[in-house]
Structures are given as structure tokens and as C-alpha cells.
Symmetry: C2
Subunit: 140 residues, 2 copies
DNA sequence: AATAATATGCAACTTAGTTGCATTTATTAT
DNA sequence: ATAATAAATGCAACTAAGTTGCATATTATT
């Protein structure tokens, strides 16, 4: 039963060349274990069982994970960031589904987005984001 | 020079069957005059010149305008709502462009989205939102 | 084991948005 | 026009997400 999300997390963090810390490890392992995007709050709840982790540190850990392309942030309609792990199979070039009832965010991996739309003159394309809103299987 | 956004705003609010108030009128007129989506703050700034309007009232006015389909809300990456008027030609079934430098939101009216994507079993489609990030003409 | 660079915890802060309640205003029916 | 009434407004106090500065602890290196 020793979960191998910790092993995977360790490998991913080491691979960045930066420091492997307890908090980065715990946080990433939690995100690796989830099928959908978690809020700062939800991650905190999952951490509570074990030793406590400061709110601010968690914000900084998430920011670090994000900047190192281990996770990606999703902006929801409730003004709360949600975080989802980036695996090789799971780049951030995909659509997100937001359930308007339970506010859970699911990544639609198999829904690929066609790139480079036509923009007004002088505009520079950087990234495209597709969000689908509705009810998830549990709420429908 | 008497701007006709007030006339247009009056007509739109009257058409809802609800009360025509000074604040709804002013707010909607401001949004009608803009080419891009405004934050609560930006609307407040534009109001400052004239008589003051309470923060809370403005929030309630914007919520009312939104519920009555006169404007639509856009969730940006900075956790701030932006509001854009809905005209007949300008339904909310379109893409949004967000400039990552100046954070301005522009509606890409001519970028229509194909409807009903395929979702996981049991999921219910409601709405689709396409956001393009990059640099606007002024920031590029 | 000592060092240097970086991560962490704490306290205090900022900012968007919300709630409850008393007062004012827009509409209506007289 | 005016009174009645339902809805809108202003105010004060609140919530909740996220940020900043700084002193202390931890990681990786020598």
C-alpha cells in the first residue's frame, strides 16, 4: 500500500533541478492522486490529516509547481484558482469542464483544441482556453 | 453631443419590465459606450466624475444587469469580474481575448464557437466559453 | 560539520465581493 | 397630483482569497 504518488512526485520535482522539499512533495503527491482540479482549500483539507502546513507556504508551493510546469492553474467562476497536475499525457492544451452546481473542475483530455485562431490586426496569440459549463454526472 | 447611450440604455432597461433607476441607467450607458469588458473598478472610475454611487449598489446593479441578460460577466485570471454589454449583434456565444499584459478583455464577436462538444457519460452540456490569451495591439 | 542559498511560518495587509438592515425612490392605483 | 407598496439604495460590518516583509529553519554543497 505505500502509495507511489510520492515516488512519482519526487521524480518530477528532482527533474526540475530545484530543491526537493517536504511540502512540494506532499502537495504534488496529492495533486497526482486526483482526477480533477483542486482548490487551495481542498488541498489544505487533504493535508490536515498529517502535519499542518502554513497557508502562505501552500500558496508559494502551488505557485512554484505552476511555474515549473508540474501543475496548471484554472480560473473558475467563483474567483478561486484550481490546480491540476500536468503529466506527459496531460499537457495544458485541453478543455476544462466546470460543473455549475458542485463547482468541480474536470479536464477533458480528449478534447483537443485547434490552434491559432484569427485575431484582430496587431494582436499576438499566446494561448487558447476552452471551458465547458454544465452539470457533471453526479449533479445531473 | 447629447450621447444616445442613455437613450439606448433606457430602452433596454424598460424592455425588461423592471424598474428604470438612475443607477442602472448610468451603469448600462457606460457599458454601452465601451468596446471592451470593464471591471467593477473601471466602472466606478467612470462614475466618479458625476454623483457618487455606493460600491455595494454597483455590485447589485451589475448583478441585476447580468441576470436580465443586458450584460455578461467574464472571469479573468486576476479573479476580477469584467462586464460587457449584450447587444442583439453581440450575444454571449463568442470568444474572449485577454491581454496578459494590460489585462483588458476584448470580445471577439466574429469568432463563433461550434456548439455541443462530446462530454463524458452522464455529463450535461450547458455553455461553452473560449478564451484566447496573448498581447493586444497596444501591448504587442 | 560549516556554509550559502532557498523555503518556511508568522503577522499583518489588500482587495473583491457579500449580508443585514434602515432609509429612499420608482411605480401603481386612487 | 398623491398615497401606498414594493423594490432599490447606502451604510457598516463582514468574509474569503491571496500577498508582503521579515526572522527562522531547511536543503544541498564544500
Amino acid at each position: 500500500m505505500p502509495n507511489n504518488f510520492y515516488e512519482k512526485a519526487k521524480e518530477l520535482i528532482r527533474h526540475t533541478g530545484n530543491r526537493l522539499t517536504h511540502n512540494r512533495l506532499r502537495t504534488l503527491a496529492i495533486l497526482l492522486a486526483e482526477q480533477y482540479a483542486l482548490t487551495h482549500r481542498e488541498i489544505e483539507e487533504r493535508l490536515n490529516m498529517k502535519e499542518q502546513l502554513d497557508r502562505v507556504t501552500l500558496y508559494r508551493v502551488l505557485e512554484w509547481l505552476s511555474k515549473n510546469n508540474l501543475v496548471h492553474k484554472i480560473a473558475g467562476d467563483d474567483r478561486v484558482w484550481r490546480f491540476r497536475v500536468n503529466t506527459e499525457l496531460h499537457s495544458h492544451q485541453h478543455a476544462h469542464f466546470i460543473c455549475t452546481r458542485c463547482t468541480k473542475v474536470t479536464c477533458l483530455s480528449d478534447y483537443r483544441i485547434k490552434s491559432s485562431p484569427s485575431l484582430p490586426l496587431g494582436y499576438l496569440f499566446h494561448e487558447i482556453e476552452l471551458t465547458i459549463k454544465g452539470l457533471c454526472a453526479e449533479c445531473a
